[in-house]
């Protein structure tokens, strides 16, 4: 039970990081991006690729299973993931945004998600991969609860990122513009702000968060080309549960989804775990479509 709680919080914090990016793009760019989860996979694999190129130029930093090389690789992954997001926006979403129905962009993101996943499969192959072969020893915190140092790191980093993002959104001009853009794009332009720049930064931030969450997923679970596909439903459930556009909501939503997935194993066979987010999603849509904290922009029509 205790262990399931701890695992749930870990999964939840990874889902939360991905869901923050998703909720930002859903709120600000105003469409449900099915390709967002693939940015997570992309980020995770770009870090793997970067590691392969740089080699482990320094050993792990105890008590963690990783060291400077992975931190460096993550930075490279963040840059490459942001680049991919901007490229997709430029080549696909922008042209479609201007002259077709809103759902066409959502559908295009669905097609793009398939393409990204297959390109990763093509480059890296389909089998599971790991950042490090070092075995990590779990520390027994109390009877019935063991935690890995990497897991503690993951939690801490998630927390730090959430606080930093909150400060960014509240205190900077760009953060202010992003919140304003979610409410009324034309009025943002009238205020003298080039929304194209704000949109670009939204992609960069969403993609950076996706890359970090991908690396953390790879660090604590394993790397597979399907991780994004499998995270898609939990991410959407978390974002909608927390209220679209609401950063803290996404974090709480992520934790709830992660905990529910992990605790569900106590009641139903583990094979059904992946369906848990779907039932959370359905319940939210039936009961409280704006999410528990209310959406930035109306969820209900």
């Amino acid at each position: 039970m205790l262990q399931a709680l701890a695992d749930g919080i870990l999964t939840g914090s990874i889902i939360a990081l991905g869901a923050i990016g998703l909720t930002l793009t859903m709120g600000i760019l105003r469409f449900a991006n099915f390709a967002h989860a693939e940015l997570i996979t992309w980020g995770a694999y770009m870090a793997l690729g970067a590691l392969a190129i740089t080699g482990t130029f320094a050993g792990p930093t105890p008590p963690f299973s990783f060291g400077l090389p992975l931190v460096f690789a993550t930075l490279i992954a963040v840059v490459l993931t942001a680049a991919l997001a901007l490229l997709i926006d430029h080549l696909v979403f922008r042209p479609l945004r201007s002259h077709t129905s809103h759902m066409t962009v959502v559908f295009a993101s669905f097609g793009v998600s398939l393409l990204v996943r297959m390109v990763i499969l093509l480059i890296f192959g389909g089998s599971a991969a790991y950042y490090s072969n070092e075995l990590q020893i779990a520390i027994r915190v109390m009877p019935g609860l063991r935690v890995m140092p990497d897991h503690v790191f993951t939690l801490g980093l998630t927390l730090a990122i959430v606080v930093a993002l909150h400060l960014f959104l509240q205190k900077t001009r760009l953060g202010l513009s992003m919140r304003a853009l979610a409410e009324n794009p034309d009025l943002v332009r009238i205020n003298g702000i080039d929304t194209r720049v704000v949109v670009r930064w939204t992609w960069v931030i969403g993609a950076a968060l996706a890359a970090v969450s991908g690396v953390l997923y790879g660090l604590t679970v394993q790397l597979r080309p399907e991780i994004g596909f499998q995270l898609l439903l939990p991410l959407f459930a978390a974002a909608i549960l927390g209220g679209v556009g609401n950063v803290f909501g996404a974090v709480i939503g992520g934790l709830i989804v992660g905990l529910a997935e992990s605790l569900s194993v106590l009641f139903v066979p583990a094979g059904y775990k992946m369906a848990v987010p779907f039932f959370i999603l359905l319940a939210v849509l039936y009961v409280r479509p704006n999410g528990i904290f209310g959406a930035l922009r109306g969820g209900a029509k």
């Binding site: 759902m103 066409t104 959502v106 295009a108 398939l114 393409l115 596909f229 849509l285 209900a300």
Partner: protein
């Protein structure tokens, strides 16, 4: 020579079965603007439903009711309709995206049930020995396949004709009106959410029908036949054929399925053995590119939307 002919018959049966799915999707997306991201889920529900209802009784299974084939297919369609109702009721009054996300979720859930609920679905092995309708009447597999092609062809034609009638009816015009100007339609006292729900459920029911026909032909169900990839393939068929046009839907189904089959052959011939798994990825990339490039450069598809729709928009 007859080997090729036999293959052509086999190919056409599958392609026409998919074309019924594409017409169902066309009703949802092409005519109503609803994004179904879990097509494969409704297809699978029809297939599993039919298999469970018509399959032979076996002690270890919940199903196996040995019902006649038509009853099994209708049962599968009803189950698909109920699933559509479940997500439709939850989402059709909300932001459009929510339907897409929920349908994606239902497809995942169906896949999990297929894989894990052994007592109902046979798990990873699936259900085998599903009786093929009138199989004993035809002596050879070749003759039987020809019969089945006629059966699927007839049903495809009936679905096509019925949809044409429905789309010309006041209900069909209402559908169009709602898609083009929801507020105007609502102000005429129509309930757009209800009409959208009807179109969505009807489209999903057609997907269930196709699933039943599929099972009747191959005689077993296995989770491997209902991978998420199928959703993308069906979408590619619709987009390439041109949404909002059922003739295009059929052409797209046959064309894309031919492309898929031929690219599979080409890859298995040309690529060295240890690159075969990558070859599969290339095949899928073709599907993804087909969707994205058609959206960008030929948004009306190969055949394009029926004229009346765009005239209405002027």
């Amino acid at each position: 020579m007859s080997g090729y002919l036999a293959y052509l018959v086999f190919f056409l049966i599958v392609a026409l079965t998919y074309s019924i799915v594409v017409m169902g999707l066309n009703l949802q997306w092409g005519y109503t603007g609803l994004f179904n991201a879990g097509v494969v889920g409704f297809f699978a529900i029809g297939a599993y439903g039919t298999a469970i209802l018509t399959g032979p009784d076996r002690p270890e299974l919940i199903g196996g009711f040995a019902l006649p084939f038509p009853a099994g297919v209708v049962g599968g369609m009803i189950l698909a309709a109920l699933a559509a109702l479940l997500v439709g009721l939850a989402t059709l009054r909300l932001r459009e995206e929510y339907l897409a996300i929920s349908t994606f979720g239902i497809a995942i859930s169906i896949q999990l049930i297929g894989l894990n609920f052994d007592a109902l679905t046979g798990g990873a092995q699936g259900l085998t020995g599903i009786p093929r309708p009138l199989f004993s009447t035809f002596g050879t597999p070749g003759a039987y396949n020809l019969f089945y092609l006629c059966l699927v062809g007839t049903i495809t034609a009936i679905v096509f004709a019925a949809l044409q009638v429905a789309l010309q009816s006041p209900w069909g015009r209402l559908l169009k009106a709602i898609r083009e100007d929801e507020t105007a339609a609502a102000s005429l006292g129509k309930n757009p959410a209800l009409v959208r729900l009807q179109a969505f459920v009807l489209g999903s029911t057609l997907m269930g029908l196709a699933g039943g026909l599929y099972v009747g032909f191959i005689g077993y169900v296995s989770p491997l036949d209902f991978l998420p990839l199928l959703t993308f393939q069906i979408w590619a068929m619709l987009i390439v054929g041109g949404s909002g046009n059922n003739r295009g839907a059929i052409v797209g189904a046959v064309g894309v399925w031919a492309l898929w089959t031929m690219s599979g052959f080409a890859i298995s011939r040309l690529l060295p053995v240890h690159y075969q798994s990558q070859g599969g990825a290339i095949q899928v990339i073709i599907i993804g590119l087909l969707i994205v490039l058609t959206l960008l450069f030929r948004p009306r598809g190969l055949i394009g939307e029926a004229q009346s729709v765009s005239r209405h928009a002027r």
